[in-house]
């Protein structure tokens, strides 16, 4: 049954229909043959009895007047029927009176058998009492061989078998045709379901037609697909809407911060220049404490100016176009290292920069990333007498990961998340200079290159910044 369960539905249907038809045919043919056999036997028995009666009536006079010759002449008429084995008339006392025996056809009962008829081995026998004027005067016995009956049965069986075989073929052929009524819609439904499952094509529809359960199934399936499609469309629409809203809000925020930063510069410049003017023009009238306070005002305005510049840079990074080309990260790193050494020639810092790290990206923006990361390392190793800064690559999940490692101040991993937020710093200004924009800028640039940045570190044991490019298309 396992094999049957795994058969395609069309074959199952064909098998079922054909098996049902053949079984019904078998039963019908069996009943027909059985009825025909019984009827034939009964008919033959009746015919033989009738023949015995006719022969008996024709022989009554011969028996009455003790004329066996005449009786044998009557019996001899049986010659014309090759199926008759023999016949015998018995006198009233049971002794044989006259006989007919087909050549080579067994024997005849030596004394009168009891009235009746029946099938015995290979022959049909009938014995009838001869009556004359209502009184028994003797017995007649007739035997017939069953060859003819068996030939009739053989013919019947042959014809029945032929009909059975023919009907089975017809049933198979019809089943092959009819099963499509059911398997057709199912197969089309299956194809559609596969198309949906494999290609995610929710626009596919199963063709429909009938009004039966299959039609209902197909209709329900199509309706399901329609609802999924509708919901998908609704979801997409909402995502697009939200994205648009977010982008708009983001753009507004960016432009707001840009304009704020931009507009802040002019009054700041005034504060700085007027403070300078007071320091220069009123140096005589200011006491030492006043001059010192004004100096602080100047320094603060300079720092604020730098903050504003960084803000503007950060805003620009997001807004500017991305010009993707070949970028040699190794060269960019070496240039950045040279710049850093030139700025502070006194420091003992060893740079280890891997060669041939070529990537696709905006060379200018990636230079900023490399500068910021190396600058960061340079800055946070400044408290150590000597330092080692490494720029290299490793592989993670089969994709390249770039890193900048230093052995500087490091940080507490608990605050790792804050590192990439603009203007947030883990160290005080007194410890390390900086606005806290560098890493945030690097993160934004890398995000625009479809990459990520993350870091590992430990207080006073250095930090490692990792970044990737093109994890997903920008």
């Amino acid at each position: 049954m396992r094999g049957f369960r795994d058969l395609p539905i069309s074959q199952k249907l064909m098998l079922l229909m054909t098996a049902t038809s053949v079984l019904a045919l078998l039963l019908a043919c069996g009943a027909f043959v059985a009825a025909e056999v019984a009827a034939t036997r009964g008919r033959m028995a009746r015919a033989l009895t009738l023949r015995a009666d006719i022969l008996g009536a024709n022989s009554a006079a011969a028996l009455t007047f003790n004329d066996p010759k005449a009786a044998e002449e009557t019996l001899a008429t049986l010659k014309i029927d090759a199926g008759v084995l023999g016949a015998r008339i018995y006198a009233a006392d049971g002794r044989p009176f006259a006989s007919y025996l087909r050549p080579g056809a067994g024997g005849l009962p030596p004394s009168a058998p009891a009235e009746g008829q029946g099938f015995t081995a290979g022959r049909l026998e009938a014995a009838r009492t001869l009556l004359l004027d209502g009184r028994p005067i003797g017995t007649i016995y007739v035997a017939q061989d069953l060859g003819e009956m068996y030939r009739t049965f053989a013919l019947l069986a042959g014809v029945t078998l032929a009909v059975l075989v023919l009907c089975s073929f017809v049933a198979w052929a019809l089943a092959a045709r009819f099963q499509r009524l059911i398997s057709g819609p199912l197969l089309r439904l299956t194809e559609t379901a596969k198309a949906v499952a494999e290609r995610g094509d929710y626009s596919a529809r199963a063709s429909d037609g009938s009004r039966d359960e299959l039609g209902v199934l197909v209709g329900a399936f199509n309706e399901m697909l329609r609802q999924i499609q509708l919901r998908d469309a609704e979801l997409e629409r909402r995502v697009a809407e939200r994205t648009a809203e977010l982008s708009a809000a983001n753009a507004e925020l960016e432009s707001f911060s840009y304009s704020v930063a931009h507009d802040l510069r002019a009054p700041l410049r005034h504060i700085h220049s007027f403070s300078r003017m007071v320091l220069q023009d009123y140096a005589g009238t200011l006491d030492a404490a006043g001059a010192e306070l004004l100096e602080k005002v100047c320094a603060s305005s300079v720092r604020m100016g730098r903050l504003i510049d960084d803000l503007l840079t950060l805003a620009r990074l997001v807004r500017c176009d991305l010009r993707v080309g070949e970028a040699d990260l190794s060269r960019l790193a070496r240039e950045a290292a040279d710049d850093l050494r030139e700025a502070e020639p006194g420091r003992a810092v060893e740079f280890v920069i891997a060669d041939g790290l070529r990537v696709q990206g905006d060379a200018v923006l990636l230079a900023t990333v490399v500068q910021n990361l190396l600058g960061n390392a340079w800055k946070y190793t400044s408290k150590h007498a000597s330092a080692r800064i490494e720029f290299g690559t490793a592989r993670q999940d089969g994709r390249p990961v770039y890193f900048v490692r230093d052995d500087g101040a490091g940080f507490d991993m608990a605050y790792a998340g804050k590192l990439f937020k603009p203007f947030s710093r883990l160290h005080s200004l007194r410890e390390f200079e900086g606005s806290g924009v560098g890493l945030a800028a690097a993160q934004r640039i890398l995000a625009r290159h479809g990459g990520r940045i993350w870091c590992e570190g430990e207080v006073e044991r250095g930090a490692t910044f990792y970044f990737t490019l093109w994890d997903k298309p920008a």
Partner: protein, 192 residues
């Protein structure tokens, strides 16, 4: 009487006898204790009534018996009386009547004319003309020639008979074809 021609007289008696001799069953029967010729005649006389049909008017009513007459002194009469006891033919009882001479003769259904009355035969037949009596006698050929209807004969010690069908038909009697088939003359002619 003139209507009864000589056409049905068996002419080939020797051949009929030969044929009878060729019957093995008959030989088997012959080995059995043989019934006397008179007994056989009595039984035959009784059985003739079963193969001959009389017109309905010869019977007074449906219960009227079939009468079997014996003309002349013969042992057949006594044997016949014994044979008909309890017998019926077509629902009718059978009675036997003896006639010692032509004078007392009355019409019967069957009349056996014993050899002792042989010389009266023409007168008997004349008397019975139109009476629907089946006449049975001896010496078949001569009997039937003279207008008798069934004449007994002996073939190899077997009692056989000839039938003058014309005479029977003239008397309004219908003799069954089954009985006619057994008539000696007919069989002799039918034989190859």
């Amino acid at each position: 009487m003139s209507a009864v021609g000589p056409f049905f007289v068996p002419r080939l008696l020797p051949l009929a006898a030969l044929l009878a001799a060729a019957l093995p069953a008959q030989e088997a029967l012959a080995s059995e204790p043989q019934a006397s010729a008179a007994e056989v005649r009595a039984v035959f006389l009784l059985n003739f009534t079963k193969f001959v049909e009389w017109p309905p008017e010869v019977f007074v009513d449906t219960a009227a018996p079939v009468t079997l007459g014996v003309l002349g002194e013969d042992p057949v009469a006594e044997l016949l009386e014994a044979a008909v006891a309890g017998e019926t033919v077509g629902g009718r009882a059978l009675t036997v009547r003896r006639f010692s001479s032509l004078d007392g003769l009355k019409p019967c259904h069957v009349l056996y004319i014993a050899p002792s009355s042989w010389r009266d035969l023409p007168a008997v037949l004349a008397r019975l003309e139109g009476s629907r009596t089946l006449t049975v006698g001896e010496e078949s050929e001569r009997f039937t020639k003279k207008g008798g209807m069934i004449g007994f004969l002996l073939e190899r010690d077997q009692v056989r008979f000839d039938i003058n069908q014309k005479a029977a038909e003239a008397a309004g009697l219908k003799v069954s074809s089954r009985l006619l088939r057994l008539a000696s003359g007919r069989r002799a002619r039918a034989a190859p």
